[in-house]
């Protein structure tokens, strides 16, 4: 037998009540402190979170946002939901990754009958290698998401995302190790203005950043552009035509047969980014051809004054303060397009 230990005796109810009150006070106090320092709640993105969203696409009244960073940063699903009452808005855009594979997956999914808003980047569509970038996410969803052994991770992700969506103290900017490190180095923690919400919307608060940081980001983006952009060439145009008229038009036919809809959206860019796009991928040779070859509805920000008025602080992404109005305007335009 095991020796019976002398367990600590106490007024347990009071002790635990006291502990719980103290934990709640610590949470509220530290949350208040970090918020006054400019920190915001930030959810951690993961394959599981993407898959949870992917699993929501079913049902007739669903709008799915597919794309890369511009769509994830520039369209707020919550605002879009207000524009489309009764609709489920699903954000599947993923920063840094061309989204053709996700589009293909949705179009080929026999149970999907909703609307896809595809934030198209012409340079990706005129490239042979753009197709497989979101493959790992799609594969994770189909192969792993439904497995019983991943149920635990699903539950964990739901709880984690719920808490991280409301509490700045659970943001990865405030990892204990980092706080200790910065204190030891007598440095001040700086807030991260790139955040992620539970619905996978990723607002970027350029307007809250110090101007020199915005300038640094902008310069880095400009430096990454091709120094001497080449004008539209035949090879790129050929690849673009093949991708659009063969692959995309087939996908669109599949989707339309089931009652699904697809809208291509060209999200705003500005400054050197826009200039380079107009030289390398002129609208007459690329964007305007999409509808001509496939019949897919397109929305180019240049064609709508209500979308044209926004300046991208880093040349490629909208500021979080502009997103609500932009999303509302976009929602209205989409409604007209789909009528």
């Amino acid at each position: 037998m095991i020796d019976k230990p002398n367990l600590p005796v106490a007024p347990h109810k009071y002790q635990w009540l006291f502990s719980i009150c103290l934990v709640v006070s610590l949470v509220i106090g530290s949350e208040w402190y970090w918020r006054t320092q400019g920190f915001m709640p930030r959810v951690v993105d993961s394959d599981m979170l993407w898959s949870i969203q992917r699993n929501r696409v079913y049902g007739d009244s669903t709008i799915v946002i597919v794309g890369s960073s511009r769509a994830q940063v520039g369209i707020d699903p919550e605002i879009m939901r207000l524009e489309y009452p009764g609709y489920k808005i699903v954000q599947l855009a993923k920063i840094g990754l061309p989204a053709f594979y996700t589009l293909q997956d949705l179009a080929n999914d026999p149970n999907f009958t909703g609307i896809i808003l595809y934030s198209a980047v012409v340079s990706f569509l005129a490239n042979e290698f753009y197709r497989r970038d979101q493959k790992y996410l799609v594969d994770y969803y189909h192969r792993e998401f439904f497995k019983f052994r991943n149920l635990k991770e699903r539950i964990d992700t739901h709880v984690r995302v719920f808490l991280q969506n409301y509490l700045a103290i659970l943001s990865q900017d405030l990892v204990l190790k980092k706080i200790v490190q910065w204190n030891l180095q007598n440095r001040q923690l700086t807030p991260n203005y790139y955040i992620l919400k539970a619905n996978r919307y990723r607002p970027v608060y350029y307007s809250k950043m110090p101007p020199e940081s915005v300038e640094r980001i902008r310069n880095r983006k400009i430096a990454a552009l091709t120094p001497n952009p080449k004008r539209a060439n035949n090879r790129r145009q050929r690849i673009f035509q093949e991708n659009i008229s063969q692959d995309l038009s087939h996908l669109y036919i599949h989707l339309r047969q089931r009652g699904g809809k697809l809208v291509f959206i060209r999200m705003p860019t500005s400054g050197p980014h826009w200039s380079q796009d107009t030289i390398t991928y002129p609208e007459w040779a690329y964007w305007n051809k999409i509808t001509e070859w496939t019949g897919i509805s397109t929305i180019h920000f240049r064609d709508y004054p209500e979308l044209l008025k926004y300046e991208c602080p880093d040349t490629s992404h909208l500021d979080a303060s502009d997103v609500p109005e932009f999303t509302r305007a976009l929602g209205r335009i989409i409604r007209t397009k789909l009528k």
Binding site: M1, I2, K4, P5, N6, L7, P8, V9, A10, P11, H12, Y14, Q15, W16, F18, S19, I20, L22, V23, L26, V27, S30, F148, R149, L151, K152, I155, D156, V159, R160, L163, Q164, L167, I169, L170, S171, Q172, L174, V175, L176, K177, V180, Q181, L184, Q185
Partner: protein, 479 residues
């Protein structure tokens, strides 16, 4: 399912509430058995069948051993039980290792042999529950206990979820009598059980995962040869990570079991305050070392037969098996061998040093404690390294024999060194102060309000560290 997950917290709350609502003791045990299978199946459902095989086989073997008419038949049935349990353990845990060594041997003999990769999943906790079921049959074979009359109790003993996947390794005699009578946790037990859960999770999430793991990974996974100073810091920090990880799990297990009305044996008793390696193994993973002592060391003859040489050989065999129990790799065998060597040297030295009162003075005790800890730290590179050659590189760097011991570029940042030293010193001092005490005693001495503050601070730090940090499995899960 890991203790350090939201899923477990939800699961445990549901289990605790339902089990307290069930009035019938038999139904409650049945309920605990079912949820234990769900707990295990959450990782890989088909492997629950292995648990069933082990449970049923040992249950019947034990019954037959008890009723067998002759000693020969008893021995035969015991061998069947050993064959089933060790066969499963060997197949799932050691077959890949044996095959790799066989291939290596063939290649050495210039014989080309390249078998298909076996691709065998190591069932979680197999080393733990195999040892539990084995102890049951061996005890009955030795006549130390009788077969337990209730299969439900026995199945719960093998499967009880708090200790199922990473111990403590509970003996039947410790667990089964608790099943005999109505066993509802008192408010003292629930309160202390929850406190232990908070302490265990704090050890794991904040100290092991949050503060120490990144430092260790930076040195051991960098692929560079670390300098002497940084490798000592990282290895001392690894000793803290390992302790907080494993002792954290055991503390959670004991706490969770206590909330459900079951007492599990203590698995760690401030091991870094050990004076000598015999003492160390009486404080570190106590349930494994006592299992090996009772079922391997004593079975080999212990220290009673055929003089010193045989005792040393028995010690070495036991420690080599302890090493191999940890994992199917030569590094673990070396780890066990090194500890066998330490214990042997200690035994020899004890004979020469004699029992003088000077050894009991506190400066000498601290000196021997630090010497023991340094010896343990020196054995850790073989435990943590990816292979024997990395372990060799790191140990040679630690003792200053590697050409880059004093020249290599720093791998750790200053703040990491400071965090590492702070954590190491904190744990060593707390172990020294608590050496002859227990958590229960320490907590009993303080006022409930201070206890409440301590629990709240630990819970708060665990909460923020868990949701901001990376998920890391318990180190001992792989064993």
């Amino acid at each position: 399912m890991l203790f350090n997950s939201s899923t477990f917290i939800i699961f445990f709350c549901i289990v605790l509430i339902i089990s307290r609502c069930i009035g019938s003791w038999t139904v409650r045990k049945g309920f605990l058995l079912v949820v234990s299978y769900i707990f295990y199946a959450a990782w890989n459902p088909p492997l629950v069948m292995l648990l069933w095989v082990s449970t049923i086989a040992d249950w019947f073997c034990a019954q037959r051993i008890h009723t067998a008419p002759t000693k020969r038949i008893r021995k035969l049935i015991l061998l069947i039980s050993l064959g089933i349990n060790l066969g499963l353990l060997g197949f799932f845990k050691y077959s890949g290792f044996l095959m790799d060594n066989f291939v290596y041997l063939m290649n050495l003999l210039q014989i080309e042999f390249s078998p298909a990769s076996p691709n065998i999943i190591l069932p979680m906790g197999i080393s733990f529950y195999t040892f539990q079921t084995l102890s049951y049959t061996i005890d009955i074979y030795r006549g130390r206990s009788k077969p337990w009359p209730s299969f439900l109790d026995y199945a719960l003993y093998v499967t009880f979820f708090p200790q199922l996947v990473a111990g403590p390794i509970v003996r039947a005699a410790q667990f089964l009598p608790q099943c005999a009578e109505q066993n509802k946790a008192t408010s003292d037990q629930i309160s202390w059980g929850l406190t232990l859960l908070v302490i265990g999770l704090f050890s794991k999430v904040v100290i092991a995962d949050g503060l120490t793991a990144p430092i260790v990974e930076q040195v051991y996974d960098s692929g560079k040869v670390p300098g002497m100073y940084h490798v000592w810091v990282a290895t001392c920090v690894f000793s803290i990570q390992l302790f907080c990880d494993f002792a954290g799990y055991s503390t959670c297990a004991i706490g969770a079991a206590l909330c459900l009305g079951f007492k599990l044996p203590v698995n760690f008793r401030y091991p870094y305050a050990a004076i000598g390696f015999s003492d160390f193994w009486r404080r570190w993973h106590i349930t494994l070392s006592s299992w090996l002592r009772d079922y391997v060391y004593f079975a080999l003859g212990g220290s009673r037969r055929r003089g010193y040489a045989r005792t040393y050989i028995n010690q070495m065999i036991t420690m080599l098996l302890a090493g191999l129990w940890h994992g199917a790799a030569w590094t673990y065998v070396l780890f066990g061998g090194l500890h066998g060597f330490y214990i042997t040297v200690e035994r020899v030295l004890k004979g020469y040093l004699g029992h003088y009162s000077v050894w009991r003075l506190w400066p000498m005790r601290i000196f021997f404690m630090l010497l023991t800890y340094a010896g343990f730290v020196l054995s850790l590179p073989v435990f943590r390294s990816h292979d024997v050659s990395q372990a060799f590189t790191i140990i040679t760097s630690m003792i200053g024999l590697h050409p880059l011991s004093f020249q290599s570029e720093p791998i750790l940042y200053d703040h990491q060194v400071r965090i590492g030293i702070f954590c190491t010193a904190g744990i060593l001092i707390s172990h020294y102060l608590m050496r002859n005490s227990s958590l229960e005693e320490a907590f009993s001495r303080i006022h409930w309000s201070i206890r409440g503050v301590a629990v709240a601070v630990l819970a708060y730090l665990t909460l923020i560290s868990y949701y901001t940090g990376e998920d890391r499995a318990f180190i001992y899960f792989q064993f």
